[in-house]
Symmetry: C2
């Protein structure tokens, strides 16, 4: 049995989990799969990481060059995140004939094309199961097991922090700021929560999964992005009355005129499998024309769940290497060139909550504004006035064009009888998600 | 690009779907993945199948020997089901150096060991993603992506017919016989429903998934099996009051003294992701020590969903063949030898519904019988009497030994104050499912 030498760069939460997993299960891997994984060299800026993990002096370095230049190393695992020096670690590893496994969504969300080309030029592979939806093995499924399908829709809860916040807002009836503060105190949200709550993290992930699913180039910058800061307890309450749950979804969908790629709060019916994904858990719903609806559920973050995905990728490379074969190159990543549609071209349904003067004619005025902008109304609710001379009007529209909706919202905001457009939330037209599935 | 020649045996629901999928998407597979799949020879007993699919005379035969003896064929897809001649098709294919893809749960639930050995002897591979949970790519995940983990629990809704029946019973408050008759009329259940409703189908699938997850030999005959015929509308109603849903689960779980493998109706809390899997859909919940809880959801049957899994397996073989490599042999399937525990050794919680004489002392009598048999009670409900001199008592126990429970039920049945032990349903102790998951 050939030993597979691993170079591990980054010994933080995920890197430490990977090191511990490989050390804990070393003998099982040998016995069950004939795979002998050896942590040849691990890199961190902190000697304390090496001490905590019980790494020998030989196994540890503070300079990543020692890892990528070690001729015995087969696979480099990059777990430092960010762009620099992660990009250099990838490039140097490829040039010295090493395969790379990474969880770096920031890097891969923008640079998959460059990295795939460089890997192919050097006859090596890279894998990134852990970069999207942590431990959930959806990347491999999109790259391989579902290849018989044309993928139609990918829609996921890909950020645990925002799902945790929205779940608590729903269960407790609390407002965003309150739950965020508590989530920060409990360590579920960062001190600077922007990457999570404003949608950046989910945008990187849907760029990666969308590129794979639709085999077209999607980068993080292509993704329309709106976070959850404006979701209020009132919206969640009305959603509940409408039989819906509000989730921060990352969605990529193929249409006849291009791919929609977007991250935003979304109302989905309670009966949809994504609606019951609670707390910090992640789930990725994938529709293929043959398989129909599928969903992959699990932890999207955390030391060991992410390590599970990293080690799964290591296995995918180590299995052929152990048998004296080269890992197969991945299929050309961007074999199809699909345009990315802007959000203005989206057709979906909308929830609009207005605070209006509690007087005759207001309902007629707002209805007319919507109609004048080609927005057809599916559902109207007028909530009890609050005694300050205003009341709340809620509209749910039929499917409408986002560009029209924007104009309507501007006109509503400008109308004298309307105090405030309190919120606008997209109501996902889930029937569209399965359009194109073959009839059995 | 090397053409991959496919031999397809069986052109029924699944075989027809596979043929249509490969023909529909042929050009996409070439363009996206560089995989050129050619249906070289298809076999069915009926010429009408060939006509319906538009197969040429050259492409069609009624004799499977023509497929396995064709020297140009790389991969044989066996989709006729049953043991004979499926076993011969596997054996002849292996001996003539062909890889095999199959959805045959009946065959693989009992003969994986023999077939794996024969494939290895002949240097070929076989794959069976479609044999368990149809289109859901959980087999590959258990064989590869989750290899970094020690698998702790596999629990799934693996039979669409019974899930459809239980879902309708729940939503409509109807009894089993009534919903079954309607499901048969609608084509959701077979005229002879036994394979589904008595648990045989799910037993084959958990034997296959359990073998893979625990890397030990489990055959269909090792699986304890109890179907859903005895579930009544009353049980479903009481379950709902207890915050639970009744599902037919197929469960394999590692314990310190062996593996539990069982199929039976199970009460699970409504908050568990399996509880909201509705209608004919399937889902497989897998716990690994690193990844924690995961769930794979999708269609468990149907022409195209199953074809998606079959074609995914074809890709797994065609990718290396296209690049001039031999598909990697699978890891030794039964590298661990774990004993299978009998159901008598199960520790779980139980729901017991009794019809008792509506008189003083009955509650005390039944409580004493339980206590005398080491069954400790967690919850007691007495339902309103029905006017015929009886009333209903419901007990939910703490975790107890199945052998003790059986004795208690015998004693209850023999007691004069108890008219009937109306039902006994296992209440799954879901905390046990995640015992052994690493703390992050």
């Amino acid at each position: 049995m050939r030993t597979i030498n691993i170079g591990l760069v980054g010994l933080g939460t995920v890197g430490g989990g990977v090191a511990r997993l490989i050390m804990n299960h070393h003998d099982d891997y040998v016995k069950n799969y004939g795979i002998d994984l050896h942590l040849k060299k691990c890199c961190s800026l902190y000697q304390s990481d090496a001490d905590r993990l019980g790494l020998s002096a030989d196994q540890f370095t503070t300079d990543w060059h020692d890892v990528v230049s070690d001729p015995d190393i087969d696979i480099v695992i990059e777990l430092i995140g960010g762009t620099h020096p992660a990009m250099d670690i990838f490039e140097e590893s490829f040039k010295s004939g090493k395969h790379v496994v990474s969880a770096n969504k920031a890097l891969l969300g923008r640079n998959t094309e460059h990295l795939a080309r460089l890997a192919a030029e050097n006859g090596v592979s890279f894998r990134c199961e852990a970069a999207a939806a942590g431990g959930i093995p959806v990347v491999h499924a999109l790259e391989h097991e579902l290849n018989g399908n044309e993928i139609l829709t990918i829609a996921g809860i890909m950020n645990g922090t925002t799902n945790y916040i929205l779940s608590r807002m729903k269960h407790e009836g609390s407002d965003f700021a309150e739950v965020l503060a508590d989530a920060q105190a409990l360590g579920y949200a960062e001190a600077d929560p922007s990457a999570d709550v404003d949608g950046f993290d989910a945008a990187s992930k849907i760029a990666i999964l969308g590129s794979m699913g639709f085999r077209t180039r999607i980068t993080t910058d292509d993704v329309y992005m709106q976070g959850i800061r404006d979701i209020s307890a009132a919206d969640i309450e009305v959603a509940e009355e409408l039989g819906c749950t509000i989730k921060l979804l990352a969605i990529a969908r193929k249409t006849d005129t291009g791919v929609d790629v977007r991250v935003h709060p979304t109302m989905i019916p309670n009966g949809h499998p994504l609606a019951s994904v609670d707390g910090a858990m992640n789930a990725v719903y994938v529709v293929g024309d043959a398989v129909g609806e599928t969903m992959f559920y699990g932890a999207g973050a955390g030391s060991f769940p992410t390590a599970s995905a990293v080690v799964g990728d290591v296995f995918a490379l180590a299995e052929p290497i152990s048998q004296g074969q080269k890992p197969l190159p991945e299929a050309e990543p961007f074999s199809v060139n699909r345009p990315i549609r802007t959000i203005d071209n989206l057709h979906t349904r909308y929830y609009i909550r207005l605070t209006v003067e509690d007087q005759l004619g207001t309902l007629a005025a707002s209805t007319r504004i919507l109609t004048d902008n080609n927005i057809s109304i599916s559902n109207i609710r007028q909530l009890e006035g609050t005694g300050d001379g205003t009341c709340t009007l809620v509209f749910v529209t039929h499917s409408a064009l986002e560009a029209d909706l924007k104009k309507a919202v501007e006109a509503l905001a400008a109308d004298d009888s309307i105090r405030e457009v309190a919120s606008v939330i997209r109501v996902e037209d889930i029937d569209k998600w399965t359009e194109g599935v073959f009839a059995n």
